[in-house]
Subunit: 347 residues, 2 copies
């Protein structure tokens, strides 16, 4: 895995170069702009229900925005594969976003999160009960959309992804108080909870375009590695983000006692006293106000953030390599740039 020389100090102190990385994602979104507009219309139309609380709650989380990265990947993958057969990719991109939204709703309940993308989370506003049930509704609705589309191949990919996501989330729950979790096992969590849906989102694009299995597999690889890179950078940003620029709060994962790669690296590198610190703050969730600064200092000491980003960079490289067999063109270039952006947003 290629290592990228990065100093944790620069991450913690340097202001992100505004606009640099975002341009890559903006460029990709611009390339599938009409499709994305259509996809947003499908999302709004199909989250409706005679039970008014369902569209109200769904609108709260859907309107909160986010980057719509997963449906954009479906749309872009379909176009990369030359899909020009109609609106199927738009419908299926909406499915992908519904599955993602359902998992976010359940995640926030499971994590007892009060904020999502800087706004009050759906469970904070509407309660855990409604969030669980509306998540179930959106999940079921995603399958109804897939049935309308009629492709068993797509249904197979996304039902498997949904099962894998749940497995990843349960695995995360099981490992959440275990600082001795090996990195490989943590990567299994990441593959499940995050990367499986990236992979499926991309693979569906090839399937809808009727492309051969090798192309579908290449896009699946692209999505899987991109998803892992994305999550590892998220892990790093939680200990390094410039809150004002990225709309994130440093230390959310820490306060929730989450096992993430920077923590595992710092724990593995720590002496007995340092390990006791991590055991108290993460495993036992006993924290004081000064503990986050101490955590950041310990991470700086062993370059845990830089090491995490180096791992992420390795997966981003694998993602880019997976697109090698596709012909050059604006969509491919934009996807490669998004893989770079995944890493550059942390710098």
């Amino acid at each position: 895995m290629p290592e990228v020389p990065l100093g944790a100090a620069s991450l913690l102190s340097a202001a992100p170069v505004a606009g640099l990385g975002e341009d890559a994602l903006t460029a990709l979104i611009a390339l599938v702009g009409d499709d994305m507009t259509a996809c947003n219309r499908v999302i709004i139309a199909r989250m409706d229900s005679p039970v008014a609380l369902i569209p109200q709650l769904a609108a709260h989380i859907v309107a909160a925005g986010g980057k719509r990265l997963r449906p954009v990947l479906t749309l872009a993958s379909a176009r990369l594969c030359g899909y020009a057969g109609g609106e199927r990719h738009v419908q299926l991109a909406a499915c992908v976003e519904f599955i993602h939204t359902a998992t976010l709703l359940h995640d926030d309940v499971v994590d007892d999160s009060k904020l999502r993308r800087g706004l009050a989370s759906a469970n904070a506003v509407f309660g855990n009960k409604a969030s669980v049930l509306v998540g179930d509704f959106l999940f079921a609705r995603a399958f109804q959309l897939m049935v309308d589309d009629g492709s068993l191949a797509v249904l197979r990919i996304l039902s498997a992804a949904a099962a894998t996501i749940a497995e990843g989330e349960v695995l995360q729950l099981v490992t959440q108080n275990d600082l001795s979790t090996p990195e490989d096992r943590y990567l299994d969590v990441v593959r499940g909870k995050t990367a499986a849906l990236f992979a499926a989102a991309c693979e569906v694009g090839a399937v809808v375009a009727g492309r051969p299995e090798a192309e579908a597999a290449a896009l699946r690889d692209f999505g899987m590695n991109l998803g892992i890179a994305f999550q590892l950078v998220d892990d790093a940003l939680d200990y390094a983000a410039n809150q004002a620029v990225l709309g994130k709060t440093v230390g959310d994962d820490f306060r929730e006692g989450k096992i993430t790669l920077p923590v595992l690296i710092a724990y593995a590198a720590g002496d007995a006293g340092q390990r006791a610190f991590w055991q108290r703050t993460i495993e036992a969730s006993e924290q004081t106000d000064a503990d986050l600064d101490q955590a950041l200092a310990l991470m700086a000491q062993c370059d845990a953030i830089a090491a995490t980003l180096a791992r992420a960079s390795g997966f981003a490289s694998l993602a880019k390599r997976a697109l090698a067999s596709f012909a050059d063109g604006p969509i491919r270039r934009a996807l490669l740039a998004v893989a770079d952006y995944t890493i550059s947003r942390a710098r």
Copy 2:
């Protein structure tokens, strides 16, 4: 709707005639016994996962038993329709049970239930987080099983049922503190949260047997009306069950402040003082130990339990009528007897 003359007093005091009603369900299960054994094997095999907590938690709720009424309905419906093409009905019966189990897991979280069928509920043992996520897993796994089966018609029926269940549960949440909920609206809750899956379970049996839409519709009607009857009797039993015989605790719904048909009937029949009682105990969830006896007395006064069972009996009659077009035979007779049993278990 036919009304059955029933005295609430006899319901509250008379010991159930042991074995009378149970025989009907036992007879049906015996008719599909080999299929049910095969279905149980599929359930055990397909709830497996490399993440050990998933089969552990799933086994807790699956092993708790229950009547497996829904998969039995799928198996019996398929046989009623002359299905003899293999094991598809067994796989799909397992799907139905997985969807049911997933909704139970989420229900217990939403209701904060500590008991399920007299045993500690999965959320009480494993926590709410694991219950939410394993529910998601079982739901996804159900769709994987359907994809393996390969019928888009079945996928359409069960994905629509899953969406309707979630809608019914959300509607229940919205109406849960509203004693002025009209009976029709409450029946919409019942159709969603309970009857939709009964209907789908039966309809799938006709589809797997390749029978025409009229037969599928008849079985859907049978299941829908049976499911409504089943839920209304459950509502009544919560205020009338002989705990020792039925393994139920009188007053669970009351203590949870649940709006059910007996409560709506008693509230509608009540004077100002009685309405204040229901508003305090159900809408405001302010209860003392003596309140359950008072609730039972108010229900007895207006025959609310008898009226609830009369409604249930009407739906059971509609269920039986839906089977009119099927030829006489042991399965049809057993299904008719189960509709009768649904009512007789409350006497």
